[in-house]
């Protein structure tokens, strides 16, 4: 089955293989650069996330793609859908803001120059959950800005299901990666 491919590989020589590897690496690097660039513009560590749980149904289902931004000049408001990550928890959570409390400084006479220097306490809840998220906060009483990855701005259904499928069936991931790698090596352009 692979005899032909091996033959072409031998015919094309080492230079060709190296060139293809270089091409492959540049594609990967471009992807990474675009991802990080987008993250820089949106001010968030992951500007695109895939929904992993059903706690926001029927708004978001597993596999839906969400676009996030986290502008440094904006406070969070009730009704915003935020993605947050609790230290110690491995997966980020997508839930809606239920309460915000803009705390003022305890030091009398000090006024923060920007409203963003002010601490904001946040409570969230999944639309499909009966109660708020205190039990998910792992001992924290409130969320704060530092826990929040971003606000959901846009929505694309189902596209992210590929990644969920790849997580659920790792064989698929290896088959896909292997196939792509082989194609990249054998193809001649």
């Amino acid at each position: 089955m692979f005899a032909d491919e091996l033959k072409t590989l031998r015919r094309l020589g080492v230079r060709h293989v190296l060139l293809q590897i270089l091409n492959f690496a540049s594609v990967l690097a471009t992807g990474l650069m675009m991802w990080k660039g987008l993250g820089l513009v949106c001010n968030t560590e992951s500007p695109i996330v895939v929904v992993l749980s059903g706690s926001m149904e029927p708004a978001f289902y597993r596999g839906d793609l969400l676009f996030l931004t986290n502008p440094a000049s904006e406070r969070y408001h009730t009704g915003d859908i935020t993605v947050y990550k609790i230290p110690g928890a491995d997966i980020p959570i997508v839930h809606r803001v239920l309460e915000t409390h803009d705390v003022v400084s305890k030091d009398k006479g000090y006024v923060s120059a920007s409203p963003l220097a002010q601490k904001q306490l946040i409570l969230t809840k999944g639309d499909n959950n009966p109660v708020d998220d205190i039990d998910l906060y792992q001992g924290l009483e409130w969320l704060e800005r530092k826990h929040i990855v971003g606000k959901v701005r846009g929505f694309l259904p189902y596209i992210g299901y590929v990644t969920i499928a790849m997580n659920d069936f790792p064989q698929l991931k290896y088959a896909l990666l292997g196939g792509l790698g082989l194609l990249a090596l054998v193809q001649r352009e």
Binding site: V103, R153, P157
Partner: protein, 177 residues
């Protein structure tokens, strides 16, 4: 040149760009719909009692109970790219310490256009409590009805459908009337 592989490649690339263009067109089309419906929100009664909350099991805390009346026709918000409407009622006030608060006390998800013409008497769904122990010294609160339009594909939009004037918090009641 015309191998099966290249044909599959071309066809799938063409189909996926068509799909992307279609999705983008749908997402952009919802920018054309700029409905801004307004409704009427009436807070009928406010009562404060002392109670225990889920957050602090062993502490007494003041809890406000809100009864409200709501009439709003939100059907104009439904267009072909509207998946659902998330409707929420929030209270905004500043407490005695100067903390600015926004608290959602009621919400509802509306899936269908024929359910979007609302006329209801409701009361708060979520516990309405202050950061501290009581509401004493807090400013009068505004109650606003807001909505979040969630599309099938595209951008999430927000709006405000109704607002009450500032309503002062009542005195705490010790007995249930």
């Amino acid at each position: 040149m015309h191998t099966v592989y290249s044909r599959i490649n071309n066809v799938s690339a063409f189909l996926s760009s068509c799909l992307m263009a279609l999705l983008a067109a749908i997402a952009l089309s919802s920018l054309v719909f700029t409905a801004d419906p307004k409704g009427i929100l009436d807070v009928q009664s406010l009562n404060i009692y002392e109670g225990h909350t889920r957050r602090y099991h062993n502490r007494w805390q003041d809890v406000t109970f809100v009864n409200f009346n709501l009439t709003a026709d939100l059907t104009p918000l439904f267009n072909w790219n509207t998946k659902q409407l998330f409707l929420y009622l929030q209270a905004e006030y500043v407490d005695a310490k100067g903390v600015k608060n926004e608290v959602v006390i009621w919400d509802r998800i509306i899936h269908k256009k024929d359910k979007a013409n609302l006329s209801l008497n409701g009361r708060n769904k979520y516990v309405f409590r202050n950061l501290g122990k009581s509401f004493k010294g807090a400013s009068a609160a505004n109650y606003t009805l807001k909505y979040n339009v969630m599309p099938y594909v595209g951008l999430l939009t927000y709006g405000e459908a109704a607002r009450t004037g500032p309503l002062a918090f009542p005195e705490k009641r010790t007995e249930v009337a």
